[in-house]
């Protein structure tokens, strides 16, 4: 048996030995420190959704799928529209059949396994549509948890995925509180909305913004105070989704209701 003295000695050695590799994990890179101070960047992409204007036509979802080559019939999508129907007895019914790729064409609510639920029109107290997309968070938890650096944030705030480097572990999918991520059915890597990075970086708008007939969606540069989107965010009462996760989402909503999840 060992005595106390020996035990203490061994314990200290063991703990010390354990601390060394842990300390090595901390990377002190001058570039990191420099990057945190740097503020020369002129662009930060943000998004504005006006839920009061959305009618649930789903043109945005259709355009997104085609523009970004997400297989049209696969039940995954970079952007989608949710319908919320609140009834007289205080219940909330939510659905998004096929992500609203074909729009909402029936008053019946899709309850998945439980089939379609019919609500008499006189029972409905409020009903509205909420488009969803990647929030391009300021503190993206999906990027934090990527074990290989296959997903990252660009200087202008968009979170991208490196399709040649992703190992497909799914940790980012689990880490996203908004469930915007999924596995691409063809490339078998993580996939999500990137604000149509190929379009916005060329001065265009995202495919969903261009496809929306009602102006419910708009994309803009949050660092430009004259940008119409930025002006609305600065002057009107906007809200974001799931603030409690500390992700600092950069998709802002007008007319959001408390029922929205």
């Amino acid at each position: 048996m060992i005595n106390r003295r020996q035990f203490c000695k061994r314990a200290i050695i063991a703990v010390g030995g354990l601390m060394l590799p842990l300390a090595a994990l901390e990377i002190f890179d001058p570039r990191t420190l420099q990057a945190e101070k740097e503020t020369g960047n002129k662009t930060r992409w943000g998004f504005l959704v006006d839920t009061r204007k959305c009618v649930g036509c789903g043109f945005c979802v259709k355009a997104c799928k085609i523009e970004n080559e997400v297989p049209y019939d696969a039940n995954v999508t970079r952007t989608w529209v949710e319908r919320y129907v609140v009834t007289r007895d205080g219940k909330t019914y939510i659905d998004s059949p096929k992500g609203a790729r074909d729009g909402f064409t029936s008053p019946k609510i899709d309850q998945n396994h439980h089939g379609m639920h019919e609500i008499p029109p006189q029972e409905v107290t409020k009903a509205f549509f909420v488009p969803k997309l990647c929030n391009q968070c300021e503190n993206p938890p999906c990027v934090q948890v990527c074990p290989v650096g296959a997903t990252y944030q660009t200087e202008d705030g968009v979170v991208l995925i490196d399709r040649t480097w992703c190992i497909g572990c799914g940790y980012c999918i689990m880490g996203c509180p908004y469930s915007v991520r999924f596995f691409h059915p063809v490339h078998h890597v993580a996939e999500k909305c990137n604000f149509c990075y190929h379009r916005i970086s060329q001065g265009m708008k995202t495919a969903c913004v261009d496809a929306c007939p009602f102006g419910a969606r708009s994309v803009g540069n949050l660092k430009d105070p004259d940008d119409p989107v930025t002006r609305i965010i600065m002057t009107e009462r906007v809200s974001v989704l799931k603030e409690e996760y500390g992700t600092k989402p950069q998709v802002f909503y007008l007319g959001l209701s408390k029922e929205v999840k």
Binding site: A35, F104, P140, Q144, H198
Partner: protein, 162 residues
């Protein structure tokens, strides 16, 4: 005989050396820490350009107006002017080079996206003139009777009115 106790350690060191060597070979040269720091900016820089280079499919109405100015002006007076041409005519790609003609979606499914009547009085959906797709000529395509570019009721196709 020398101390044999360290031999497993040499094996371990050889393994570490091997991994570092493989790392040198496999990791792309531009992999590193960029603007957003190690937590959010650890990536292969050239991937940004790859994403910027994705082919654009929806070229917006601007291109349509340049060639089809007369049509464009005419349609812009109708109630459907808020709808992007490509929503119904399909993404333009390099048209007219490639594809020379576009596949127009004339399906009923396209119209009922907005015009299936859902009586929600909060929000704009309830205000859009709508039908019950199951009762309003369920077998027919909408374009048989309605002019999609000029959808006012009095502008319904002549043969349908008579």
């Amino acid at each position: 005989m020398k101390n044999h106790v360290l031999r497993p350690l040499y094996v371990a060191l050889a393994l570490v050396g091997f991994i570092l060597f493989v790392r040198k070979l496999l990791v792309p040269v531009d992999f590193g820490i960029y603007e957003r720091g190690y937590m959010y900016g650890w990536h292969r820089k050239s991937n940004e350009a790859e994403w910027k280079g994705v082919r654009i499919k929806y070229k917006t109405d601007k291109g349509c107006r340049d060639c089809h100015r007369d049509k464009y002006e005419e349609i812009s007076k109708s109630g459907h002017s808020i709808i992007s041409c490509e929503n119904c005519h399909g993404p333009r790609y390099e048209h007219p080079k490639d594809p020379p003609g576009l596949t127009v979606d004339r399906s009923r499914g396209l119209c009922v996206r907005c015009h299936a009547h859902i009586p929600y009085m909060t929000g704009g959906r309830g205000d859009i003139p709508g039908i019950d797709p199951e009762k309003h000529y369920p077998q027919a395509e909408c374009v048989m009777c309605h002019l999609s570019h000029n959808p006012k009721p009095m502008n319904q196709k002549r043969e349908a009115r008579s």
